[in-house]
């Protein structure tokens, strides 16, 4: 009988290989990840006149983040993300307009829940398909909701929408003032931060890894026994819920809802925002929203046609030359720079 080994406590295996170390460290916070949030707080103090714009920006970031989960991570090509944005917005709007529920945070949760239900139900059926059919179905579901909101004129106000929504103060203290938007901005910032932390945790979790796997190689994920359909449906539902939060936030901070929240325009815009920044990398949503909305804010109102032309050219260029958006472009340039420095 061999001598008994001395008892050793069970330690996780030491990670030594550089690639493995890089993988193990992937999810850790890096120093620059503080920057967007620091910039947002700086924005609050430096340009208080633009807080309305800032709030719009934050909501666009959140909406683009929701799309990033479905499109960037799981690879679900959808043109109907506004369906969930609109569901969240209309849920919050209807509750507030008819005086049923006005507490903002729980309203957002209810909005998220409603959007999640729509996401789950539509996801269960449309994620069986792919390609053009999937694209068509996402558009159809969104148009269906838009038409339904238009038809239910008595409740939703139809084309005119619901205006002057009364939202209760946050925590019963901080009121939404239509003239001073401090509360709206900070409240949106907090909501976006919470959602972002949730998403960040999610995409680095094994679940998030499996989504990336599905995007990269569907067949292989099936082969290794991953429950692909279920993962996609869950991902789509979560993405819908977050889009619902963004929509609810939009309704609360603007104090109105109209059919534009469900339009193809909005769905196309969020897609452009995300692609512009770079998809499948979380921070693309931030860069894309800042660049797009700033350009739109300052150009579109003065030169609407030129803006549309420029946007068209930009999209064509991105599709042809910079498929990973601004962040991808930056990464490539940075790598080139490092190579250039390394080579004598």
């Amino acid at each position: 009988m061999p001598p008994r080994q001395p008892h050793t406590p069970l330690l996780p295996p030491r990670i030594t290989h550089p690639a493995a170390q890089a993988l193990a460290r992937r999810h850790r916070l890096r120093w620059w990840e503080v920057l967007p949030w620091a910039a947002a707080i700086l924005f609050y103090f430096v340009v208080p006149d633009y807080l309305g714009f800032g709030t719009e920006l934050l909501i666009a970031v959140l909406f683009a983040l929701s799309l990033d989960l479905a499109l960037g991570y799981a690879g679900i090509v959808t043109l109907g993300q506004a369906a969930f944005f609109g569901t969240g917005a209309y849920t919050v709007g209807l509750l507030a307009f008819h005086g049923i529920w006005t507490e903002p945070i729980t309203s957002l949760l209810i909005g998220a829940l409603a959007a999640a239900v729509v996401g789950l139900l539509s996801g269960l059926v449309l994620l069986r398909t792919g390609g053009l059919t999937l694209l068509m179905l996402t558009i159809c579901i969104m148009e269906l909701l838009e038409q339904a909101a238009n038809m239910a004129h008595d409740y939703t106000g139809g084309f005119d929408g619901l205006a002057s929504l009364a939202i209760a103060p946050v925590f019963g203290v901080f009121e939404f003032n239509p003239l001073y938007l401090n509360t709206q901005f900070l409240y949106s910032l907090a909501v976006v931060l919470v959602c972002f932390l949730f998403l960040r945790t999610l995409v680095y979790s094994p679940f998030g890894q499996s989504l990336t796997g599905i995007r990269e190689n569907l067949l292989r994920m099936h082969a290794v026994g991953s429950p692909v359909r279920r993962r996609l449906v869950i991902c789509y539902t979560i993405s819908a819920a977050i889009a619902g939060v963004a929509g609810g936030l939009w309704a609360q901070t603007n104090a109105y809802v109209n059919l534009s929240v469900l339009s193809l325009d909005r769905a196309a815009t969020v897609l452009i925002v995300l692609i512009l920044g770079g998809y499948g990398r979380l921070y693309g949503a931030f860069i894309g929203a800042v660049v797009y909305l700033t350009l739109e804010h300052f150009l579109a109102r003065i030169y609407p046609t030129a803006w549309q032309l420029g946007l068209g050219v930009l999209l064509v260029l991105i599709a042809l030359f910079a498929r990973n958006g601004i962040l991808g472009l930056g990464e490539t340039l940075w790598r080139r720079y490092l190579q250039w420095r390394a080579s004598p």
């Binding site: 269906l144 038809m151 452009i272 549309q308 599709a319 042809l320």
Partner: protein
């Protein structure tokens, strides 16, 4: 009797709208079936063609038939240039990049036409032979609608004949069925696609011109009716000409009936119908199941 006349009116109106929808969408269906390219800018080609046709008639006083021919040629030429320069690099890319490229093209077309022609809607003066009413025996109906139905039928018959009876038609069918095999048999898929793309865009231009009378023509055209073109194509089945024809007529009649009986939000049923149909047959009515 009144009901029967009403019904006949709806069917004829729907069929004429459906015929236009078919003429616009058929190219989209074939090019999507051939290359799997999600070309959202197809409606923009229809719009471009519509503008060429309307401007040729209104400014240069060319007659309707000649204007349609000019629209066909101009749009086909433009589309083949765009296809060679912009579309080709993305044939093997994902749908997302194709969607982006073509949305970008839509914006460029909308802005370009707004700048060059102006944002206002363009009127179309129909030739006098096509105006007025036609006696069908049991009722009178607009001559132009009947003309559209006849033209739509002639076009579908012509394309069907070309598909079934010509060499290039056989090559297209082979490529839709199995692209790799077609390529290994020596079919020049690249050239085939350029020809089909140009032809499909030209047809879209004709459809754009034919439809001005009741769809209107303004720079938003490319986006406004895009969903309808896509529905016609996906319901009919990618790459199937007869499928798109049936789907277009069905959609036209449905739309006409719903607009008459449910003027408020009747279009909701078109979406319900499309969703249910695509769930039942993801490949469309006449499409082939993807392997």
């Amino acid at each position: 009797m009144d009901f029967a006349v009403d019904l006949a009116g709806i069917v004829l109106g729907g069929l004429s709208a459906g015929s236009v929808l078919f003429v616009v969408s058929v190219g989209l269906s074939v090019t999507m079936g051939l290359m799997g390219f999600v070309n959202l800018a197809h409606g923009a080609f229809a719009m471009f063609g519509g503008y060429v046709i309307v401007l040729a008639m209104n400014s240069a006083h060319i007659d309707f038939a000649a204007a349609l021919a000019i629209g066909f040629v101009a749009t086909a030429a433009l589309s083949v240039v765009l296809e060679r320069v912009l579309y080709r690099p993305l044939y093997r890319a994902g749908e997302l990049d194709q969607v982006l490229l073509t949305i970008g093209l839509i914006f460029i077309f909308i802005a370009g036409i707004t700048i060059v022609v102006g944002p206002e809607s363009q009127p179309l003066e129909l030739p006098s032979t096509l105006g007025g009413q036609l006696n069908l025996g049991f009722m009178h109906y607009r001559t132009y609608s009947i003309f559209l139905i006849v033209i739509g039928f002639l076009i579908v018959f012509g394309i069907w004949l070309a598909f079934e009876r010509t060499r290039i038609g056989a090559q297209i069918r082979a490529t839709v069925d199995n692209r790799r095999m077609a390529e290994s048999l020596g079919i020049n898929v690249d050239r085939l696609f350029a020809i089909t793309f140009a032809f499909g865009s030209g047809m879209a231009a004709i459809g754009g011109g034919l439809g001005v009378e009741f769809l209107g023509l303004d720079p938003q055209y490319a986006l406004k009716y895009l969903v309808y073109f896509l529905i016609a194509v996906s319901v009919g089945g990618l790459g199937s000409v007869v499928g798109v024809y049936c789907a277009s007529l069905l959609l036209g009649v449905l739309d006409f009936a719903l607009k008459l009986y449910l003027p408020k939000g009747g279009t909701i049923f078109i979406y319900v119908f499309t969703i249910l149909l695509l769930l039942w047959r993801p490949q469309g009515l006449f499409g082939r199941r993807e392997t």
